[in-house]
Amino acid sequence: MADEALFLLLHNEMVSGVYKSAEQGEVENGRCITKLENMGFRVGQGLIERFTKDTARFKDELDIMKFICKDFWTTVFKKQIDNLRTNHQGIYVLQDNKFRLLTQMSAGKQYLEHASKYLAFTCGLIRGGLSNLGIKSIVTAEVSSMPALTSMSDHTLKKEKLDK
């Protein structure tokens, strides 16, 4: 129980820390998001290196996405992704109905605009993990109602790279 809270608290502190340091330098919102995403990217790279150490080689992209949804998500957020959809052409939609980093906020529309701050790190986490597994991707996240998260991960980039 305690170790879960630690990650939540550290993450909250990190977000507010990044935003506070930006306010002094008068930097716009987008740069903070990028900063958080880059932090997530590096953490994702390290984590995936550790997690996949003893697993068998992955068969294909879907296999990798399943690993992200199950093992990776369980280790970071203590639960699995609720729903994984794909169009089999490189777009994957991951849905988490009770996203841990948002459960502490009230469920109304009040904080909806602030939610994006708390998603940037996770987006980076997924992107870093995937890039280390050899998939170049774009990850975006959106929140429609408060604790639910939909994360889109799109590897059209990867396909371009293969053609060259």
């Binding site: 590096r42 290196e49 080689r57 068969k59 050899g134």
Partner: protein, 109 residues
Amino acid sequence: MVHTSLDVVDEKISAMGKALVDQRELYLGLLYPTEDYKVYGYVTNSKVKFVMVVDSSNTALRDNEIRSMFRKLHSSYTDVMCNPFYNPGDRIQSRAFDSMVASLMPQVC
């Protein structure tokens, strides 16, 4: 020689994609033997390739030992990757990693 072996590694991986499920191990085994050396390969899930070149005359080294050496190398590499001061893609300049590699050497020679 190491460079040529990388091509063999790629061949093996692409062949393995179609192969059976139980053949998806990270350790690739003997890549190819030459007159003087044997070349072994190992690929992590993050597509990092390790190659080991061993003297052919050395018959004491069995497959299992090579595998455990690669495992050690891999876990040591993982530690380097998780070091926040290491930038992925840079040359590895870690004393712990170097000493681990050095400790593997006496087994071979």
